[in-house]
Assembly symmetry: C2
Homo-oligomer: 311 residues x 2
């Protein structure tokens, strides 16, 4: 079994595990699961498993499925909070079934994870830390958006918690499943953390520059909501001055010049890419501390893929 096959097995296990006699829960769950997604967290887990000496990817499938299910649960709940209408090229659950059923579908996915993780003892500690951090990050993001207080510092903290922690958790769980020693687990966790930061920054930049047809969702929605890297550096982009107290550009500012153009012209995209580049260097340096192998090369390729993705 190679990684692509293992990822397909994760898809299948997700579809199986959401079986329910309550039709709407099964349908809504399958609606978002079968819409696809990059499955980047399972890929990180599988690659880390191999890099840590794991031999049988099959053994890592249930935990990779659990990680992706929690991620999916939080997407479903995000779309409620953000009034999202399209996700992965499909209408969102809240749009199609209403807010109540969307909320319950997310909860359903959370409870299904208890079952998947049952055999894995202490791995549940890693899992819990990662998923709790995710929710904490989402909460910080909601608070910063509400109070209009998103600075670069707060942005970095949000991204660390809401995205990088789950990537770190995925990498650590892969290493733990492979029976790695503490040092290898932590090193791979560090790699996952940097990769997660990069992933989210690029994701935020794609909100600004991406092609909505490729993205499967509307673009340019984060900044007016006070979210994303561009929002964090928007003050600079808006007026060209660095080191000024940061704030959020709203769509109402200077409606004659489109927000996107203004941000691009102000250098927000360039600055975001520079952040991501610096983090990529650190991610590579982390991998230098591991015994080099094909699997470690694959983790390096993953950095490049995350940097270069266009959707």
């Amino acid at each position: 079994m190679n990684i692509d096959e293992a990822v397909l097995a994760v898809d299948q296990m997700m579809l199986d595990v959401v079986h329910s006699e309550v039709t709407v829960l099964e349908e809504a769950s399958r609606h978002i699961i079968s819409a696809g997604g990059k499955r980047v967290r399972p890929r990180v887990l599988f690659n880390a498993y191999l890099a840590a000496g794991g031999k049988d990817l099959k053994a890592a499938i249930p935990v990779a499925t659990a990680i992706e299910l929690v991620h999916t649960a939080t997407l479903v709940h995000d779309d409620i909070n953000d009034h999202g209408v399209v996700r992965r090229g499909r209408v969102t659950i809240n749009e199609k079934w209403g807010r109540t059923f969307a909320l319950l579908t997310g909860d359903f996915l959370f409870t299904k994870v208890y079952e998947l993780m049952a055999p894995y003892g202490d791995l549940n500690i890693t899992f819990s830390e990662a998923t709790t951090a995710l929710v904490e990050g989402e909460t910080l993001q909601a608070a910063a958006a509400k109070d209009n207080t998103l600075t670069r510092e707060i942005y970095q903290k949000i991204v660390a918690k809401k995205t990088a922690s789950l990537f770190r958790g995925a990498a650590m769980l892969g290493a733990q499943l492979a029976g790695a020693d503490r040092r290898t687990i932590d090193t791979l966790g560090e790699y996952g953390f940097y990769l997660g930061l990069i992933f989210q920054i690029i994701d935020d930049l794609l909100d600004l520059t991406g092609d909505p047809r490729l993205m499967g969702k509307a673009a340019g929605v984060d900044i007016p909501q006070g979210k994303g890297v561009a929002a964090a550096i928007a003050r600079k982009s808006a007026n060209g001055k660095r080191d000024e107290a940061l704030g959020v550009v709203t769509v109402e500012d200077d409606p004659f010049l489109p927000l996107k153009e203004r941000l691009v012209a102000g250098g927000a995209v360039e600055e975001g890419r520079q952040m991501a580049q610096a983090l990529a260097v650190q991610a590579h340096a982390t991998l230098d501390r591991l015994p080099q192998s094909e699997a470690v090369d694959a983790l390096r390729t993953l950095i490049t893929q995350v940097m270069e993705r266009d959707h």
Copy 2:
């Protein structure tokens, strides 16, 4: 350590476990936890543990805490869906902090449970079945309310899933923690299931007849929402005819005669109590199959307490 002390330890563990550097999550979690509640699910778990031969209640505290935390998470999310304003005598989280933070607080509690349940291997299977059924029951309830299709049959299915399954799970987990054999686990599970059915029916009747000051929440809110035992038998109460296709009384029907009086006059309360009485007989019969002990007597007392509670 006796059961009251163990319940206090659950309260303390809940307060400890929701610690977070993200203030709003900790504050909102503590807001609902410290508002109290009957902690009836932990009590069921502890009593079942002793009835199954368990000796040290301390060993059962983390799992009891996990059960109560998931229950709490679903209350927080329920209040979003029902636009609840008061719960346990306090303003709800959605009312105080807004819907977004309430949703995230519920998710936070779900993820904290992964940590608590980490050491308990197969018990996570029981736990997952119970909590998934809970969410399924909530979903059936939302669907019946939306489509105005709540019949006695559907009502029973909803109550079985949304309440009785978690009571069954609590009793089974208590027995499993005590190292009981399969038969004892299942018998106690059956007891828990009946007790949960009774608990919910009485809860629904209290919505109709309870004193809001004692209840810590508004009364009479379920029926117009198409929820609760009274709603299921409301058609009969409204027009005095049995065996008619059942529906839901809305507040708009005959506004000159208060809903509550109409339902009471129609015999809804009496019929609900009869349902509960019949189930109490079955709960007692289940306990007859166990070796009698003080702990089994305590489980019998619990039936009486649940039947007679006034808030």
